[in-house]
């Protein structure tokens, strides 16, 4: 009887030891994240993006200063917090990246193919202008409360379609966005997973993109985040600025309404 008690106690201690090791790991990660806050390399992209916004470029040698992000031509402050939205001049719901491409084509004279080329940078030798522009534009919405209106019928349809896409089971692994993001308090390996079907989770997730991803060594945008999720879901490649990517963004952005935007952030 005593021996069994001793064995049980030892087993309990071993399990407790494992649990303690777990807590120490999670705490260590939190400390690492706090230390990273100062000196966010995203500022380098913000500075480059501001330069690109104000520089005449493209075949028509025009700046972005007449580009309408929804609050009037050239108005950048607060623009990201109300995107995606319907734009009558394109008769389409657009997120920021799609709208930037639109201005590159219609105002700066780029072809659509050239404007959409290389959206995700890879080192100093292969920089992405889109990423820099997104860093700058989003930095001008820092502190602004998310206010995606979703009032136009096309905006509402995009939201509903985005919601359906969120639950679409597919690929070799039967994954949907919901597989990882529809329950609270879960994590994949040691990465906490926000519950995107609930306000708090959606707010925390959406207001911290774009972000400097330390593991990537790059500033990554929301289009990138969706693209890379689908890659890991064993889906084919999500097309940059596709209608589906915008619908999904609309669903997630609107779910974040009310929270103060807090990006460009820094993540592992």
């Amino acid at each position: 009887m005593t021996r069994r008690v001793v064995l049980a106690a030892t087993a309990a201690l071993v399990l407790a030891g494992v649990a303690l090791a777990q807590d120490a790991t999670v705490e260590g990660i939190a400390k690492y994240r706090a230390a990273l806050q100062d000196g966010n390399p995203a500022e380098l992209w913000e500075a480059r993006g501001e330069g690109l916004w104000k520089t005449a470029r493209g075949p028509k040698k025009v700046t972005f200063e007449k580009c309408d992000l929804g609050l009037g031509p050239g108005v950048v402050k607060g623009a990201y917090a109300q995107l995606p939205r319907y734009f009558p001049d394109a008769d389409r719901v657009m997120d920021l990246e799609t709208r930037l491409v639109h201005c590159m084509v219609t105002q700066q004279g780029y072809t659509l193919a050239d404007a959409k080329k290389g959206p995700f940078g890879n080192g100093n030798e292969s920089k992405s202008d889109i990423e820099a522009l997104v860093a700058y534009v989003t930095s001008e919405s820092r502190g602004v409360k998310m206010n995606v209106a979703a009032s136009h019928p096309k905006e509402q349809e995009a939201y509903r379609i985005g919601e359906r896409m969120f639950f679409f089971r597919g690929g070799s692994h039967d994954f949907s966005c919901a597989t990882c993001h529809a329950e609270s308090g879960k994590r994949i390996r040691l990465q906490d997973l926000p519950n995107l079907t609930e306000k708090a989770g959606a707010q925390l997730a959406y207001t911290t993109w774009p972000a400097y991803r330390v593991s990537q060594g790059e500033l990554r945008t929301f289009q990138w985040r969706l693209f890379d999720c689908f890659r890991q879901q064993r889906f084919p490649a999500l097309e940059f600025t596709s209608d589906g990517s915008i619908a999904l963004t609309m669903f997630l952005a609107r779910n974040a309404n009310g929270a103060a935007f807090d990006a460009p952030a820094i993540k592992r």
């Binding site: 090791a21 777990q22 070799s172 039967d174 994949i188 064993r234 589906g244």
Partner: protein, 208 residues
């Protein structure tokens, strides 16, 4: 009198035309548009072709009921269809090598368009589960598998259950978040046996 009515009718008709559809599309219409828009928003890359977006009956049913609780008749049907399709090992042996099983559980690559099709393919079990206690970097999307056989028993019926669950999780839990590793040709029969051994072998660290 007639003129006024026709003017009103004309005005009403114009107003309707200008406002477009009077009511928003139905749920069924949105579902159809969502599937179409999704499929049109992807491009084949690497080993991931567009056929990855073709849903089988299980994926279709589980998408329809996503976010809701399907009735028992629906879940029973899904589990039955999946159970009947399980390919049990021809030699009747469910256990392979648990050391290989641990490697497969740790391996997160396989089937992504960024993966070499000739490269290693794993189960990525630690993404969602605690397995061997030595590994502290585990996920919590699925339940802990620590002491799997110690808790349930080491007999042939549990061995078969573990094998079947890894082969096709939907056979036991309709619309499970867990991939159907054998059914969807992610892991080979030998690999499924190796992972079964990781859970069921008395010598596996899982059961220590």
């Amino acid at each position: 009198m007639k003129t006024i009515i026709s003017v009103v009718t004309l005005a009403a008709g114009t107003a309707m035309l200008l406002s477009g559809c009077a009511s928003p599309p139905s749920d069924a219409e949105i579902n159809a548009r969502a599937t179409a828009m999704l499929k049109a928003s992807f491009a084949a890359r690497g080993q991931a072709g567009l056929d990855r977006l073709d849903q089988d009956e299980t994926q279709k049913a589980c998408t329809t009921y996503a976010g809701k609780v399907p009735g028992k008749d629906v879940t029973d049907r899904i589990e039955k269809v999946n159970f009947e399709s399980i390919k049990w090992p021809a030699d009747g042996k469910y256990l392979g090598n648990w050391q290989n099983g641990e490697k497969i559980a740790q391996e997160g690559r396989g089937k992504q368009f960024s993966d070499d099709p000739a490269g290693p393919v794993g189960g990525n079990c630690y993404a969602c589960h605690q397995v061997a206690p030595q590994e502290v970097s585990y996920g919590t999307i699925g339940p802990s598998l620590y002491q799997f056989a110690k808790v349930r028993g080491y007999g042939p019926d549990i061995q078969k259950y573990a094998y079947g669950k890894i082969w096709n999780a939907d056979a036991y839990s309709a619309c499970s978040n867990m991939p159907r590793f054998g059914h969807s040709n992610i892991l080979s029969e030998q690999q499924v046996k190796d992972v079964t051994a990781l859970l069921m072998d008395p010598n596996s660290p899982v059961n220590k």
